[in-house]
């Protein structure tokens, strides 16, 4: 009886039928991707290297001591690997701009190599897709540090990574595991006296006021690749001398709406945000 009526119904409502079918297909696809990802995860979990062998892991296994640096670009990744303290610092280079997870569908996200590598490295699962197995107690590192170039593209990469963490591993941020490294913007080399690293434009301004122009030369760091390993260690990696920002969420609702406006697929609110805040921007020419 139901079968008969259903056929009649679907004959008259082809669109509905199509929607039902495409939903089913999509679900099947996601399930398959998940399945694959899961088997990948399970087989690889026994070893500490990940599927594309990019992660340079640290020696210690105690999560409370370990740090992982997510480094923008292979060219910076190399010197970071040399510069780190391999006892407790792991390096994971990622290439270029990662997927914007706010706009992408879940199966695309799970298929993304960069994101898979990160999930594998952190070891704490993922809040969606892998059977929702996010478990913060399995996190292998106490600090997850985003280390991007000090230019605007670096800033963009930071926002993309933060969006990923916020949407799919929010506990990382809520529990204060996510940091942003602060590589210096300038290095001043005075004719007399010691070299100095300056971390922002304000510091440079201050330095300029206290020193005569011409009495020092200035190097501007546009990318992490410009520093050699020793410099990188001194300025960005060494816990005793480095500066880091810890990302915290004060207002959960604001955080969610900001993410939606900036990274979502709806353009008009983003445009009006840009027009509103245009004056506050520091433009890199």
């Amino acid at each position: 009886m139901l079968g008969e009526q259903l056929v009649l119904f679907f004959d008259r409502n082809l669109e509905t039928l199509k929607t039902v079918l495409s939903c089913a297909e999509k679900a099947a696809k996601i399930r398959k991707t998940e399945e694959r990802a899961k088997t990948n995860l399970l087989t690889k979990q026994k070893y500490s290297f990940d599927s594309n062998g990019k992660l340079a892991n640290c020696e210690k296994k105690d999560p409370s001591l370990c740090e992982i640096f997510i480094v923008e670009g292979d060219s910076a990744g190399g010197s970071a690997k040399t510069a780190r303290d391999r006892n407790y610092q792991a390096i994971l280079p990622i290439r270029g701009k990662i997927l914007n997870v706010e706009k992408a569908s879940i199966d695309k996200i799970l298929a993304n190599a960069e994101i898979k590598t990160m999930i594998n490295a952190f070891g704490c699962g993922f809040s969606e897709g892998y059977g929702n197995d996010f478990d913060i107690s399995k996190l292998r590192y106490d600090k997850i540090v985003i280390m991007a170039d000090a230019d605007v593209d670096g800033a963009h990469i930071s926002t993309l990574l933060l969006t990923l963490f916020y949407r799919f591993m929010p506990e990382l941020i809520y529990e204060g595991h996510v940091y942003i490294a602060m590589p210096p913007l300038y290095k001043v080399m005075p004719k007399k006296g010691a070299e100095e690293y300056l971390y922002d434009d304000k510091a440079l301004e201050k330095y300029r006021r206290s020193h005569k122009p011409g009495s020092f030369t200035l190097q501007r760091y546009k990318g992490l690749g410009e520093m050699d390993a020793q410099q990188l260690w001194e300025t960005t990696l060494n816990p005793e001398t480095r500066m880091m920002k810890r990302v915290e969420i004060e207002d959960a609702r604001l955080a969610s709406s900001v993410t939606e406006v900036l990274m979502g697929s709806d353009v008009p609110p983003r445009k009006s945000f840009i027009y509103e805040h245009a004056r506050d921007a520091e433009i890199d020419i």
């Binding site: 800033a155 963009h156 926002t159 916020y166 816990p239 920002k245 810890r246 433009i283 890199d284």
Partner: protein
């Protein structure tokens, strides 16, 4: 656990996101993806051109390897990826992409069909003459500001002193964050004329400017077909240009023809040509057209040539229109004239762009002539000094000979200090005390060569001085008088136009929307079948002959019709839905049909079918309409021949619904049956012929809550029996009465 003392700054997620994002977004908007309205260049283009200028890769010098240009640009001005620099260099050299190429490329710089350029280690390039003379001239005359590069070791121009509105001539495209720009290229001569028109009359309207700028001029040619909409686009800076390729018909031997596409729409550039060929092939494959026999792409250095071979008796116009409609041979170019003006992204009208440019031209000219004037003034000072010195040369020689040091002479020349200088006479000393040369003049005198004292040289000096004075007067005039400066600018524009103008390639016209007739189907007779669930199908006539009995017993509506006909469905809500017979699947007898809901606007949940017939039959007929509240009318069938899918077949009163529609044709009597069991028979002639929008006349008097249940059409000579209370009841026996009476209740 963390015992180390660390420098950790606590930051809020939302704050980091916003700050980072706005920095990124604004940087991309201002200094990456959008051009400056003044020179129409994005930073990467500006830097590449300036670097080539600095390297001296002029149009009259040999080409240089692109890799050198890219490397130099990257190291000096543009610390980003090399591929982005090379790509922009390549595009500036592609004459099919740019209205006016800025770079003269040597080697494989890609093709119109989307092939990429060779790697930068192979290709070579140099500046075009136009770039050098119109984009980069006068850079040494302090016409634009310079800013330090990224590491403050070099200086680069903030904007190039471009003398034409390059943003219009070469157009622009770029995707920033939250916004994008798309400006079509224009004809140089037309744009120059528009600039001049604006300079003559600042209040000129966009319409006025469009007397000169007729529309975009794409390097690929083509035809802009929405001329009338251009004005709105130029006024607002936003809109859609409809663009077609140019199609020619060539006659072959034996009366055959071929369509040749000689110009493609700009939007088809690159890989889209291949896509177009595929689209045409798909049209042939899906039998949308049978006119095309063969497709070939014969494009070469002579230009685009895509040939479609046609069948002999092809309706060329119809086919062309079909190509416009079904392929990208007609396309839209979305315009959004967004550019950075005064440091802000702004959508600009044609006039605003020209306004910005003219302001820029005046600024350039002012700065140029100020620099020139200062130079001439300096020259004048020295020349005056030298002339004066020639007059008193004997005295100067006396001073020189009597002095002990250079300083002493200078002091004497400038301030008339004679102390410590030996003079031949008191008179000379007195004269020397009166000398008042300026510092620069004194230096020039000291450095003067002796041969300058020859009489002719002095004359030459005087002539030079006169020349300098003339120049000063001219420069002052240009700087002080708006009209003089305008004249200078216009002269320069004229000479640019004279040297670099090219003929317009794209024609601008108004064209009708492309309409084509779909291929006519072969006309044949078929049989329409619909069951009681509203599933309909067509079957072959022979199939119907074979299954005649089954067809009539299983299907509610069975009738023959032509496959070019329309099937009309009248429903109780007073609507008529029309379905093209061609849209109904022609299947085998036992195949499943398609519900009427899917083929028309008919909705089985909301209305019921009352009468179904082919339009061919209805057109010849007169239809009787009867409603529940007994409103009757006759309507000419031809009135239902409409092109819409659904029309109102009648006008219904409140809460009324249609219960009967039928072909009254030969019938001469009407019988109405009410829910109260009353029958009324009257002559059809009592119902008048009306329009389909009329309500009709009352057919039967009804009691309270009584409605008409059935209506029957009969012929007086022929008996017509129905089953009433399980017994046959011959309607011809109902007493013939007048319309609008109660009728009778048969006793059974």
């Amino acid at each position: 656990m963390d015992t180390k003392q660390e420098n950790i700054i606590r930051t809020d997620y939302a704050e980091v996101m916003q700050k980072s994002y706005i920095d990124y977004a604004m940087s991309v908007i201002i200094s990456r993806a959008l051009p400056d309205v003044r020179d129409g260049l994005k930073p990467v283009q500006r830097r590449t051109l300036y670097d080539m200028y600095e390297l001296g890769i002029r149009y009259d010098r040999p080409y240089r390897k692109c890799a050198r240009i890219v490397g130099d640009t990257m190291g000096k001005y543009h610390p980003h990826g090399d591929s982005s620099i090379y790509e922009s260099l390549v595009v500036m050299a592609q004459d099919f992409k740019k209205g006016k190429t800025l770079v003269d490329g040597h080697g494989n710089f890609g093709s119109i069909e989307g092939d990429g350029a060779a790697a930068m280690r192979y290709t070579e390039a140099r500046l075009e003459k136009l770039t050098q003379e119109v984009f980069l001239a006068d850079l040494d005359k302090d016409v634009v500001d310079f800013m330090p590069n990224f590491d403050e070791t070099e200086k680069e121009p903030v904007v190039l002193p471009v003398k034409i509105p390059n943003i219009l001539v070469n157009g622009a495209e770029g995707i920033a964050v939250g916004m994008a720009t798309s400006i079509p290229p224009h004809n140089l001569g037309e744009v120059v004329d528009a600039v001049k028109a604006y300079m003559k009359d600042n209040d000129i309207s966009v319409k006025g400017l469009m007397r000169y700028v007729k529309g975009p001029d794409f390097p690929t040619g083509g035809i802009v077909v929405n001329k009338d909409e251009l004005r709105k686009i130029y006024e607002t800076g936003v809109g859609k240009i409809r663009l077609r390729g140019r199609v020619e018909v060539e006659k072959l031997k034996g009366g055959r023809m071929q369509l040749v596409i000689t110009e493609i729409p700009y939007t088809m550039l690159g890989a889209n040509i291949g896509k177009f060929l595929n689209d045409v092939a798909a049209l042939v494959e899906t039998k949308k057209t049978t006119d095309i026999v063969d497709i070939s792409n014969q494009s070469s250095k002579e230009g685009i040539r895509i040939v479609l071979e046609l069948r002999k008796d092809t309706d060329v116009e119809n086919l062309t229109n079909m190509l416009y409609k079904k392929t990208r041979l007609e396309d839209t170019f979305g315009v959004n004239m967004l550019a950075v003006a005064d440091g802000r992204p702004e959508t600009l009208s044609l006039k605003q762009i020209i306004e910005h440019h003219v302001d820029f031209l005046f600024e350039l000219t002012t700065r140029k002539y100020n620099t020139l004037l200062n130079k001439e003034l300096e020259k004048k000072e020295i020349q005056e000094g030298l002339i004066k010195a020639c007059d008193v040369i004997d005295l100067i020689i006396e001073i020189l000979r009597g002095s002990k040091s250079r300083e002493q002479v200078k002091k004497c020349l400038v301030d008339g200090v004679t102390e410590g200088i030996r003079f031949k006479s008191k008179a000379s000393e007195k004269a020397a005390a009166k000398l008042r040369f300026s510092e620069k003049q004194a230096t020039a005198i000291l450095e003067m060569r002796l041969y300058k004292l020859i009489g002719l040289e002095i004359e030459a000096l005087q002539a030079e001085y006169a020349e300098t004075m003339k120049n000063i007067a001219r420069y002052r005039d240009i700087l002080d008088n708006y009209s003089s400066m305008s004249e200078v600018i216009m002269d320069e524009l004229d000479s640019i136009k004279k040297e670099y103008n090219t003929k317009r390639k794209t024609s601008v016209e108004n064209a009708e929307e492309a309409v084509y007739e779909e291929k006519k189907m072969e006309e044949m007779e078929v049989c329409f079948l619909m069951d009681r669930f509203g599933y309909m199908k067509l079957i072959d006539k022979t199939a119907y002959e074979r299954n005649r009995e089954a067809a009539h017993s299983e299907y509610k509506y069975v009738f023959p019709c032509m496959n070019t006909d329309k099937i009309c469905i009248f429903t109780d809500s007073g609507k008529m839905h029309a379905i093209k017979a061609a849209d109904i699947p022609l299947v085998r007898f036992r195949d499943k049909g398609t519900p009427a809901d899917n083929l028309s606007n008919y909705d089985s949940a909301k209305e019921q079918m009352i009468y179904v017939a082919p339009l061919g039959q209805i057109r010849e007929a007169r239809l009787l309409f009867v409603t529940e509240k007994s409103m009757c009318k006759l309507v000419e069938g031809a009135e239902f021949d409409a092109s819409k899918r659904t029309i109102a077949a009648t006008r219904l009163g409140e809460d009324d619904r249609l219960i009967f529609v039928g072909n009254a044709g030969e019938m001469d009597q009407v019988v109405l049956q009410s829910s109260g069991g009353y029958f009324l028979r009257f002559l059809k002639s009592e119902i008048s012929l009306m329009k389909k929008t009329a309500m009709g006349v009352r057919g039967m008097k009804l009691g309270e809550n009584e409605v008409v249940k059935h209506a029957y059409l009969l012929e007086s000579h022929q008996e017509y029996a129905i089953t009433f209370h399980d017994k046959p009841y011959v309607l011809n026996k109902v007493k013939l009465a007048k319309r609008d009476t109660r009728g009778v209740k048969p006793r059974i």
